[in-house]
Each structure stands twice: as structure tokens, then as C-alpha cells.
Symmetry: D2
Amino acid sequence: MARVAVVYFSGSGHTHLMAEAVAQGAASVGETTVDLLRITGEQITNGRWRDDGVMDVLNRADAIVFGSPTYMGGVAAQFKAFVDAASGIWFQQGWKDKLAGGFTHSGSPSGDKQGTLLYLAINAAQHGMVWVGSAEMPDATGVNRLGSFLGVMGQSPLDTSGAPPTLDAGDRETARRYGQLIAQIAQRWRQVADQPER
Amino acid sequence: MARVAVVYFSGSGHTHLMAEAVAQGAASVGETTVDLLRITGEQITNGRWRDDGVMDVLNRADAIVFGSPTYMGGVAAQFKAFVDAASGIWFQQGWKDKLAGGFTHSGSPSGDKQGTLLYLAINAAQHGMVWVGSAEMPDATGVNRLGSFLGVMGQSPLDTSGAPPTLDAGDRETARRYGQLIAQIAQRWRQVADQPER
Amino acid sequence: MARVAVVYFSGSGHTHLMAEAVAQGAASVGETTVDLLRITGEQITNGRWRDDGVMDVLNRADAIVFGSPTYMGGVAAQFKAFVDAASGIWFQQGWKDKLAGGFTHSGSPSGDKQGTLLYLAINAAQHGMVWVGSAEMPDATGVNRLGSFLGVMGQSPLDTSGAPPTLDAGDRETARRYGQLIAQIAQRWRQVADQPER
Amino acid sequence: MARVAVVYFSGSGHTHLMAEAVAQGAASVGETTVDLLRITGEQITNGRWRDDGVMDVLNRADAIVFGSPTYMGGVAAQFKAFVDAASGIWFQQGWKDKLAGGFTHSGSPSGDKQGTLLYLAINAAQHGMVWVGSAEMPDATGVNRLGSFLGVMGQSPLDTSGAPPTLDAGDRETARRYGQLIAQIAQRWRQVADQPER
């Protein structure tokens, strides 16, 4: 039994579709509980984020997958407000030894998304978490079509038509496989954690 | 006549002291107008920052120096909220050809502050700005004692005594020289900008 | 009169095509001397690169544009050997105040190329150089189609046919405009440098 | 039974001392085989590194810890030549699912060492490896005195006296604990790997 939490912010809805795909992949692995947690601007007061319920779920997770659009070359401010709110947990190293992963979305193929994934890995390392990359080579079906390795990238052209957001099929499958991989590793990591103390 | 704006967030007050030193250095260069603009959490509503007055000053500047503490391995969420609010300006490339620089502060000598400066440079590049690094070699007087090149780093040990924040003398001098350098380059860049269009 | 040097390594030849486009763009600006300098493995002995002629040209340049393929997530080792050989110049800050820029190429749209550009900017900052980004928004003609801002990215699918390398037309035009921009800024920077000392 | 390999380049000898401390920490964990593999310039011909014996050891390892000085803001060219030589292994994803970690050394407290650790993590992610950070909070004994989380940093002032290199006691202890952590995780990861296929 392993617990995978996917915590993310989404503005236009594309990152939400990626989060759903990661969650679906994780849920496809037996004996896995998946929590999909969306950060919103409403949880932020005077620049500070707070939602004790979300933190409780994250504190119980074996793996946390972090997701944010790439806005202006980095994670969205709303997502960073969540990250900063975990500084008390960091100080206690409450997430130490958990697994971590990340995903991001923007409007261009490169679009400075690598910087966002690097940031997510930096933050996870501060928490003492172990980072699981996407571990998928680009292939002809569209899996990892953008060529990302630290985590999963999605890309959609800017659309001002007002139509519901969609996600490239290759990006979706990449995200789904990533969720699956993380749940598999979490299962085994969990078995390990259930053994005598390291 | 050149205009240098220093826009920053500060929680504990250390980054504020760095901002003041940058501003002091810039103001020491003749015919330079310096604006010191502090981002606050109160300017953020539902996760979104807005302050038209601050943006007006930035739009008129020849050089913008960005400053933020390094929190959880990156810029503070409040600072990122300001950055995200400039996405409309980015879309119009309203800050194109301006000079940019950056500074950050944290509690450890390294403390993942390089990641923050890298982020500030990424954001400036998205805006089409030209990045001016600190251009100071570490020396025996404490200038650039931490060994930072993309911008200026400050570091102070965690202090929970409640005493007013202080800044290392070497870090302060490094920040002051950086302000001076940026104002000097802004003066000359401005002369250039006053010439026929590039 | 300004001098722009383009110094690069190329394995498969794609980065060479980008270097040529940058040089062509720079040469299109009046009164600009352009040097195209290719780093080769033969210049490396026991892991150390040396070519005094190349260094002499770089020492005289007003702007240096650095180029390397992205191999295994970073600059090619051969290019890094050149960079390391400039540590003596760094120690003397011999390239201080020169303009810098960068470009890279790989087989995937993202392909961890942002990390390479970040590295090139870090190295330039160590040298006290001023960094000029690409300053082009992605447009419908293919200019900046990958969405890169710190410098220029090119991408070509893996081709094992043995045919001569080619470069995407949008990537080529982005590189050409970048060379032009750098030469223009170098012209004006040079005028500035010819004025009394900063 | 787990195998930990430490592969590194060292110029001045400081990174070698760090590598020894990592190896010592790993060897202190029962049933762990540790290989200490030093990259040298002599292994490089025409810019390309080759040493089949080193690669054989790495291919058998459960965990690979990568180490390089930070030269000019990144890994040493000699180390990068080794990294590039693993591109064939990467293409086959031969190191997929192995554990990875990293360490670096330079002459300044910050000294752009974070960029080196970020690069090591990027490369490991390309290989499909799982990244283990240092997971040590800075403490009063000097452990993690520099404030590094993705991996371990060491720092020594420039010394031109010709005396043998030394390593700060806190940096050494941080490196030793890191080796121990990686061996412990490798033991358990190995148990997991011995179970039915993921």
C-alpha cells in the first residue's frame, strides 16, 4: 500500500490535465492511493498560502509529485506560495526520504520549462526527498516528444478561442507513465521503509 | 540622466538592507535617479499582485535590479507574484533593451542562492533585457566573499533574538559597488539609446 | 568599428550551421569584423585545450558569442576544455565588460538545452561580461519556434543517413537575427567604450 | 550486497579528498562494495575519453556518485569528457534505475557550485537514474556548513604554497555521511531490485 500525492497549480487548465494523467497512471498500480490536490489563489492571504488539509495529506504521502505551469520562466507565484508555506515542514525535515517528482507546461516547446523542473528538484532536495525523473526516451509515438528527463513537460500552443484546454496525446501518455513509475517505485520504497530503520 | 529602479521583496529585512546598498551605490553616480520599490504581501489579492504605480516607475527605468531572499531554493512567492504580474509587459516586450541585474540573501553561504540568481536572469532574458553581472572578484576585504558572479549574494546567520537585521560589511560593499556599476552602465547605455534607433 | 567573435564546437555540424548564421547576421551590420572560431578535439592534449591564436582573437573582441551542442545535458567536453583554458584570462578578468551571448543545438525540442544556455551565462558572468539574450518572441514564421530567451536554440531530428546536416529555417533566421543584434549592441557598446573611462 | 561507485576528477586534490570521504562513508555500511574511480586527462585522446575498465565497474554498480571540481562555473572538462563517453550507455539506458548522487569543490563558499550539482542531476536524469540528495541540514558542528542540498559541496581557500591539499572537517564529515546514506539506500534499493521486475 503506497500513497502518491499530486499537488499542483493550474491557470489555463493544461497543467490540470497533466496532473490528472499523472494521477491516472499512479492509480493504475495496485494498492496505491492517489490524492490530487489543486493549489488555488483563494488559499493565499496577504501573499501567504495556507491549507492545513492539503498539508496533512502531503505529510502522509510516500511520494509527492509537484506540478506548475512555467510562467515567466519559473513556477507560478501561487505554487511558490504553497512551497514557501512548507518551510516549517522543511525546518523539521518532515518530508525527508519521501519520493519526489515534477511536471510543468507552457506554450513553447522549450519555453524555459527546464528551469522550472530544476527548481522543483532543488526544492525537493532541500526537503531531503529522493528525486525520480521521467526515465522515458523520446519515441515515435510522441512519448517524451519534447525531450525532458528531470520530469515531464507538456506544451500547447496559445489558444485564445475560449475553448476548453486540451493536452497533446504524447504529453498525456508521458505524464501517465510517469505517474505509474512513481507509484511502482513508491510501492517498493514503501516496502523498504516498512523494514527496520535506516 | 539615467533611471535605476531597485524592486525587491524582503521578509526578515536583510534583502532590504541589500536593496538600500544597491540604491546607495547607484545614487553615487552623477545624474542618476534611483527608485527603491518594495514588494509587499498586501499588494497580493487571491494570489495576484497589482500596483500600477510600481509598474509605471519600472516602465520608465533604464535599468531594473531585481532582489529577493532565497526561500526554499527560489525567489519568495511574493516576489514571484510581482514577476507574474509583468507578463502583460512581457507580451508587449515593454522592457526590451533595458538593463537588468539581481541580488539575493539567505542564511547559508551557498544556500541555493545561485538558483535564485539564475532564475532572475531567465526572467530578464524573457523580457529581452541585457544582464549585468556583479563583475567583482572575491578579495581580502570581503567584497564578493561568497563567490557570486551573476549577481550579488548576501548571507546572514539565522537570528531569532528579535534584534534588527544586520548585513555583513563585505556583502554590503559588494551590493553598493553593484549599484554603482549598474548606474554607470545605465548612463552610457542611455547615451546610446538617445542615438538613432537600433 | 566593432569586433564580434563566434567561438564554438560542433560535432555533427548542426552547431556549425548555427555559428555561420550568427556570423552572417553580425557581418550584415556595417563596420563589423566577425571571426568564426571552431574548437576541435585536436586542440586538446591530455584533457587540456590550447590554441593561442584563438585566444588572441577573443582577447581583441568586443563581443564573444559562445556555441556548443547540448551533449548529455551540457556543453560538449571539447567546448568545456576551451572554457577551462580561459581560467587564466578569468583570473586577470581580461574579458571584463565584453558582451557575451550563446547558442546551442540538440536533437529534441527541449532536450535540456536551457541548462546549456544557463551554463554559458554563468561562465560569462564569471568573466565579468554583459549578457545579451536573443530578445525575439516566437512568431508564426518560425523565429524562436522553440521558445528560448537566454540565447538561441536549434533542433534537428537525429539523422543517421549520412546526409550533410541541415538546419531548420526558423532556427537559422533566429541565429542570424541574434548575430545582428549582438553586432548592433557591440557597435554602440564600443562607442561607449571609446568614451572616457567608466 | 550493494555496489557503490564514486567516479570523479580532481585537479588540485580537494575533490579527491571528498571522494575518499564519500567512499569511506559508503564502506562503513555492511555488505557494501565501494569502487573509487578517478578520471584523468591521460584517458582523453583528441578530446574523447575512454576507459573500458571504468565503464565496466560503473555498469555493475547499484549507485554512482559523480564528483568534479567546479571550474569556470561547471564540471571540469576532463569530467565532462567522461560524461560524454557514456552517451552510448545513455542511448541504451544502461544505467536506468541506478541511484545517483554528486559532490563538488571550489575556492569560494558559493562559487557557482550549485550549477555544477544541478548539471550532475540533469545528466543523471538523462540516464534514468534516481537522485539522492545530501539530506543534511546545516548544523553547529560544520556539517553542511555551506548550505547545499542537491549534493555535497566542499570549499577550500586558494593555496599556492605547494602544501598538500586539505579538506574542511565539516565538509569531510558531510561527504562521509553522504556516502553512508547512499550505501544504505543502495542496500535497500538492491533488495527491491532483487524482487520481481518493475
